[in-house]
């Protein structure tokens, strides 16, 4: 990134001699972080963009493959499908969990939250391999089901899309819970009592009052989980067993194994654009600042 772009906020600051705007000091404090981000984050992304239109030849040839290559389309289709399924399941589980936490006593809430957040401190790698041990043909789940006589042959639970979804859902549930819990905590419990007092059954009070009031959290969690899922690499790589390719692994394959930098960079760019577009669309629907912890 050209250095003069970085100087923009500072250049806008001094207006009448010493009379700096009140925020100028804060902007100056942000400058080092801004520079660092430009160098280690924005610059490489721009470089990727550049590679995608220059390798192997200059032009939009790589992007043409989006429409012509069945292989590329299959990867995109698989990725979208797995991400959508993961998002829906993580939202359902996360909603139920957030609901229980939101209605628990303050003491119980702390324990629930600890339980929800605990997996976040365990490495993705460890969790993925743990799922492999549980789900493989001789794993605990298959042995258990066979022991109970429910199945004769072990089920294919891992090294396919099912395994990937299990691992991804497990990873994403805490991220689904947090925004929804935040939204639910803002719901005045008296509204539910009011609904009951005015003649609504528990179910109706939930459907007509709680659900609509928690909807912003649901949407926010959906966006968050979906975007996170798009970039998943380790979990699908391990639980997919190399047979089901998602975008991130496909990019790695293109660049490291096939040395087709242009193709890898093209899909990477597509993913980034997809994420930014999703954010742009949903920033009009929900308050993103609130979703990511800013504001109040």
């Amino acid at each position: 990134m050209p250095p003069d772009a970085v100087a923009l906020p500072a250049a806008a600051a001094p207006r009448a001699g010493w009379a700096l705007p009140r925020d100028a000091g804060w902007w100056a404090l942000l400058l080092p972080a801004f520079l660092l981000m430009s160098v280690i984050y924005v610059a490489p992304i721009l470089q990727v963009l550049a590679i995608s239109v220059t390798e192997p030849t200059t032009g939009l040839g790589n992007y043409e493959r989006l429409f012509t290559s069945i292989g590329v389309q299959r990867v995109i289709g698989t990725t979208l499908r797995i991400c959508a399924v993961t998002t829906v399941i993580a939202l359902l589980l996360g909603y139920a969990l957030a609901y229980v936490v939101a209605l628990a006593s303050p003491r119980a809430q702390r324990w629930w939250l600890l339980g929800v957040l605990l997996p976040l401190w365990i490495s993705v790698l460890v969790r993925a391999f743990a799922w492999v041990t549980l789900l493989r043909r001789q794993g605990l789940v298959n042995q258990g089901l066979q022991g109970l006589g429910l199945i004769d042959e072990p089920l294919a639970l891992v090294w396919n899309e099912f395994g990937i979804v299990v691992g991804m859902v497990h990873y994403m549930v805490p991220y689904a819970v947090l925004p929804m819990l935040a939204a639910m905590r803002e719901i005045d419990p008296r509204l539910l009592a009011a609904a009951r007092g005015l003649g609504a059954s528990r179910l109706m009070a939930f459907a007509r009052v709680f659900l609509p009031l928690s909807a912003p959290g649901l949407v926010a969690a959906g966006v968050l989980v979906f975007i996170f899922s798009l970039g998943f690499y380790i979990t699908p790589a391990i639980l997919g067993g190399g047979k089901t390719l998602m975008a991130a692994e496909w990019i790695k394959l293109q660049i490291l194994d096939l040395v087709r930098w242009g193709m890898g960079a093209m899909l990477a760019t597509v993913v980034v654009v997809a994420i930014l577009t999703t954010l742009a669309v949903f920033s009009r629907v929900v308050n993103l600042r609130r979703l990511f912890g800013g504001g109040h």
Partner: protein
């Protein structure tokens, strides 16, 4: 009133314990159909707990709630069919005013046409028809309160429960809405049970007031009766202001008694006959005391000096220091004040034999 059941609502020995803490202690009371009952008491006296037990949100530890003679203690809140105005109103923020008011009808499965007609009627009742399309957040506090009332009345409940419906409003608006609430009660003719810790509100709105303290029902009656004939020191003190005169019974007659407080002799009308020699406590309202001018006399007279005074617009509030009865508070209408008060001014106070009321110490009443 042809039905054999005279009482719309009855509480029988209602108690609620939280662990070893007794929030409500054996409260029994009855409300006649169409009456306006107010539960009045200081903070923490158990008012909300009683209201929530009536509504079905709090399960009583003991006792029963009866509606038209039928025990409804175990019935869930939504089956009781009571209208309810919550503390802070609890309007649904994601619905418009009209949708809020339609909510009780919607959950009862009324058709759209029926709903619309009833909602319009209820909004007209509280003069908010023009605001039907707004969200609660776009309304003033007073308007929100009226939406809550419309929502609670729209399904024509037999009983309307109100938890501090006016406490969130400023003083002027509160007075206005008090009048409206009273008019509304008369118009709809339903039984209202209201909770407040504002004694003025209780006096001006209610047919019956139940005074609570520490979870107990201390006294219940019409506002005038409670104000004029408080049974205990707590009631006299909580409802309006009062002076408490401590004395010893000297003589007892058919129509009254004489008390001695230091060198001061007091005469007190009444049919109560405590034994001579016993201590007695009188409650004397500040507005029943007059300043005696010149040769004027009264059945009870005591001399003192003005310790402090305040001008309150409609009148003066004096604090008069006396030798035998401590400080006595006097409320003097400004138009009748014979003097311009100033600190240290010697005055003579006078009141009639029937101006004060004998009351019990709270410990004796329990």
């Amino acid at each position: 009133m042809s039905a054999p059941v005279a009482h719309a609502l009855e509480l029988r020995g209602l108690s609620k314990r939280y662990g070893s803490f007794i929030a409500v202690d054996a409260v029994s009371l009855r409300v006649d159909r169409g009456q306006f009952l107010t539960l009045l008491g200081p903070s923490g006296s158990g008012k909300t707990t009683i209201l929530m037990a009536i509504a079905g949100f709090v399960a009583p530890s003991e006792g029963a709630v009866l509606l038209d003679g039928a025990d409804i203690t175990g019935l869930s809140p939504e089956r009781r069919d009571f209208g309810m105005v919550f503390q802070g109103y609890a309007l649904f923020p994601h619905m418009t005013v009209a949708e809020n008011v339609a909510f009780p009808l919607r959950v009862r499965g009324l058709s759209r046409a029926d709903r619309d007609a009833r909602v319009r009627g209820a909004l007209d009742l509280v003069q908010l028809a023009a605001f039907a399309g707004r969200r609660p957040s776009q309304l003033s506090g007073g308007q929100q309160q009226r939406v809550a009332l419309a929502r609670a009345l729209v399904f024509d409940p037999a009983l309307l429960l109100l938890d501090e419906p006016l406490s969130a409003l400023d003083k002027k608006l509160r007075a206005e809405l008090q009048d409206e609430l009273k008019a509304l009660h008369r118009r709809v003719g339903r039984t209202f049970v209201n909770v407040t810790h504002d004694q003025e509100e209780a006096l001006s709105l209610s047919d019956q007031v139940a005074i609570l303290n520490h979870g107990r029902l201390v006294q219940m009656g019409a506002p005038e009766a409670l104000y004029e004939r408080p049974r205990t020191r707590f009631v006299a003190d909580f409802l309006g202001k009062s002076n408490f005169l401590q004395g010893t019974v000297r003589e007892v007659g058919a129509t009254g008694m004489a008390l001695q407080a230091g060198a001061t002799r007091l005469v007190q009308a009444g049919a109560a006959h405590p034994a001579p020699g016993r201590p007695a406590l009188l409650s004397l309202r500040p507005e029943k005391i007059g300043l005696l001018a010149g040769a004027e006399t009264a059945e009870n007279e005591v001399a003192g000096t003005i310790a402090s005074w305040a001008y309150l617009g409609a009148g003066y509030s004096l604090s008069v220091r006396t030798a035998d009865l401590g400080e006595i508070r006097v409320a003097l209408p400004a138009w009748r004040a014979p003097i311009a008060p100033r600190e240290g001014l010697p005055v003579r106070l006078g009141w009639a034999a029937d101006a004060a009321v004998p009351v019990l110490e709270d410990a004796d009443a329990a």
